[in-house]
């Protein structure tokens, strides 16, 4: 305010910014500084992967500048994309992720709707319970889960272990609680009058969910979908434990188990495989980033 007064008194002087905007300019400078730092920090590994994936094995092991490609080659890409094994991993990963996302959404959206809107006995406790289950780490859960499927196999003769589709039962233990929690927050932020209006208009609970809640909460739904997809695509521990045959492996485990032979690391192909594996989530994020952020923040304020 004082600078404003001075400005009025001396109109010939060069106009200065008010203290507010000067503060903001400094804040902006600092945030750019740290953002740049962080961007470099997080971008170095993928760039290094890209550089390495374009090198031959000989060049990787040669003592040249690791940050430069002297003889670029696509041989790693050609080899991986023509190898049936790699394509099987890719297919397994894709199938697992698509099914897990579908299963997760089919469970967590109605569950979240019920927990957010149908005030039944114990619904609040149940909602908290759902979140608490998410806090149990997978490194704790995999032993009892493995035991469970082993026992089921013994009793019923249905052998699920070492089949890629066993992961369809296991991943939802991670994705369903979190997605339900996100969706509860999102549904809770929808004004109560909206479902009351729908009910008076003659909609059933199910119609209220499908025709009002899902379209209105679409950003949250997309955020939850992306989360479920990312979790199942990147999951490492569970597939490592539950699948062993090479035709049942998913991408992250497949790359590690087939491209590392004893102490021989096929770096070029490992990097190529990792890069190709990172592509689908990257593409999805790029297209749906805005929805993802909108969904997470909206869920956060009311969750």
């Amino acid at each position: 305010m004082t600078t404003m007064a001075i400005d009025k008194g001396a109109p010939t002087r060069k106009v200065k910014h008010g203290s507010m905007s000067r503060d903001r300019a400094w804040a902006l400078r600092w945030s750019y500084f740290f953002l740049t730092l962080f961007a470099i920090f997080s971008l170095v590994p993928p760039i290094y992967m890209l550089i390495t994936s374009l090198k031959s094995s000989a060049e990787i092991s040669a003592a040249t500048n690791p940050w430069w490609v002297f003889h670029p080659t696509l041989s790693n890409y050609v080899e991986l994309l023509t190898s049936n094994q790699f394509l099987t991993f890719f297919r397994n990963s894709a199938l697992v992720s698509i099914f897990v996302v579908t299963i997760t959404m089919l469970i967590s959206v109605p569950a979240a709707f019920a927990l957010a809107r149908m005030r039944f006995w114990g619904s609040a406790t149940l909602a908290t319970g759902v979140f608490l289950t998410y806090l149990i780490p997978d490194s704790l859960l995999f032993i009892p889960l493995f035991k469970m499927f082993a026992v089921i196999g013994d009793w019923t003769g249905i052998q699920l272990i070492n089949k890629w589709y066993v992961l369809l039962f296991i991943y939802p233990t991670l994705t369903v609680p979190f997605c339900t929690w996100i969706m509860i927050g999102y549904f809770a932020s929808i004004p109560k009058e909206l479902d009351e209006a729908a009910i008076i208009d003659g909609a059933s609970w199910f119609q209220t969910l499908t025709r009002i809640f899902i379209p209105v909460a679409l950003p949250g739904l997309i955020a939850a979908t992306i989360f479920a997809f990312t979790v199942s695509w990147a999951q490492f521990l569970y597939p490592l434990v539950f699948t062993t045959s090479t035709d049942q492996l998913v991408l992250p485990v497949g790359i590690i188990t087939t491209l590392i032979k004893g102490d021989v690391f096929n770096w070029g192909q490992i990097m190529t495989g990792a890069l190709l594996g990172a592509a689908p989530p990257l593409i999805i994020y790029a297209f749906l980033m805005d929805y993802y952020i909108a969904g997470l923040t909206a869920g956060a304020t009311k969750g």
Binding site: E193, A197, I200, D201, A203
Partner: protein, 366 residues
């Protein structure tokens, strides 16, 4: 089109009784306004009629049928909410037709009904817009349109104008009245604004503390309030209540306000209050318009006295004056040319033909 009847309706939340036994008959085509301070149970009553709240005890009848256990969608009602509750992802036309589409009405009929309602509400050019692109008043019109196209037995309004600014509220009030004159659907309207209640209603139901204080036409409530609550709630500025006693002076009944101010009662009032106890603690209820500047000649029943004004509020067509009488702030309305000014003295007259006498303890109007 149908009448609505409430019989000893009670709503209890755990141990709080929100509605304590309400009896109400609403005739076909009638516009009834439930009015009262917040927490008086008016919204709960409306939501019970809508079926959004269960009834703890009693009966609600719509069109002669008990609907206690009928779900909202089968009650054939339409509701307009305070925050409009428009579906944000649908256009205006889709919003209005949602109920009809759920009931699988033929497309042509849906279109005809939307056109008619849109014309009635003057929103024809808005039907393809999303609610986000509409102003508050336009949204409220769409919400009303959604109710109208359904052609229900009963309209329910839950404080529909509270989110609008003052000017728009007046405009929409008239709009609602016009719509009701056209469609003549039985309407239950909830508001906390007594002006809205007075201007819209065929009959006003004043509620307080989960009970009905009084039911009557706007004029009836204004001129013949049954209790102190109604007398104070209806009318703005509010009625003045002055502690007083009845006294017999020279064989004529007087009302004594202070040691100095004592007024003889006009004959018809004197007859009504003749049997009252002389020592009973009473309140004299006088509306501001019945405290005016004194004139040279007064009709019978007018009594003059002197007052020193605390504050004056010029309103243009009149001036509101405030003065203190035995510690009570009293409001009157005088002509702008009466010479009222802050801190100045003015000779005033009270119109005792329009006085009310209230029991100070029970609040009942005698």
């Amino acid at each position: 089109m149908a009448e609505v009847m409430l019989r000893k309706v009670i709503k209890r939340y755990d141990d709080v009784e929100a509605v304590r036994g309400i009896d109400l008959d609403i005739a076909d085509h009638e516009f009834v306004v439930l009015v009262g301070p917040s927490g008086c149970g008016k919204s709960t009553t409306l939501r019970m009629i809508a079926g959004l709240e269960d009834i703890t005890d009693g009966d609600i009848m719509i069109g002669g049928d008990v609907v206690n256990d009928v779900p909202p969608k089968d009650r054939d009602i339409a509701m307009v909410f305070q925050n409009y509750a428009l579906y944000p992802h649908m256009t205006v036309a889709e919003n209005m037709s949602f109920g009809l589409r759920l009931k699988r009405y033929p497309k042509a009929e849906i279109k005809a009904r939307i056109d008619e309602a849109a014309r009635m509400l003057d929103i024809v050019e808005l039907v393809d817009r999303k609610p986000k692109q509409l102003s508050g008043g336009q949204r409220q019109r769409v919400a009303m349109g959604r109710a109208i196209v359904r052609n229900p037995k009963v309209f329910l309004f839950d404080e529909p104008l509270s989110n609008l600014d003052a000017k728009l509220r007046v405009q929409m009030r008239i709009e609602i009245k016009k719509v009701h004159q056209k469609v003549r659907t039985t309407t239950v309207y909830v508001t906390h604004d007594q002006v809205e209640a007075m201007t819209l209603a065929d009959r006003v139901v004043v509620m307080n503390n989960g009970r009905i204080e009084q039911i009557g036409t706007p004029n009836d409530l204004y001129h013949n309030p049954a209790t102190r609550f109604v007398a104070a709630f209806i009318g703005s500025p509010a009625m003045n209540f002055l502690p007083c006693r009845l006294e017999e002076i020279a064989g004529r009944l007087h009302v004594r306000l202070t040691d100095l101010i004592v007024f003889p009662l006009p004959p018809n009032r004197a007859a009504r209050y003749q049997n009252m106890g002389r020592s009973e603690k009473l309140l004299l209820g006088l509306r501001p318009e019945h405290i005016t500047e004194a004139k040279a000649h007064h009709a019978p029943g007018f009594e003059a006295f002197d007052a020193v004004l605390d504050v004056t509020e010029p309103m243009g067509m009149e001036t509101l004056i405030y003065f203190t009488l035995e510690g009570t702030l009293v409001c009157g309305r005088v002509n702008p040319s009466a010479g009222a000014r802050d801190g100045g003295a003015l000779r005033l007259a009270v119109d005792l033909n329009n006085m009310h006498l209230l029991n100070e303890v029970t609040g009942a109007v005698i």
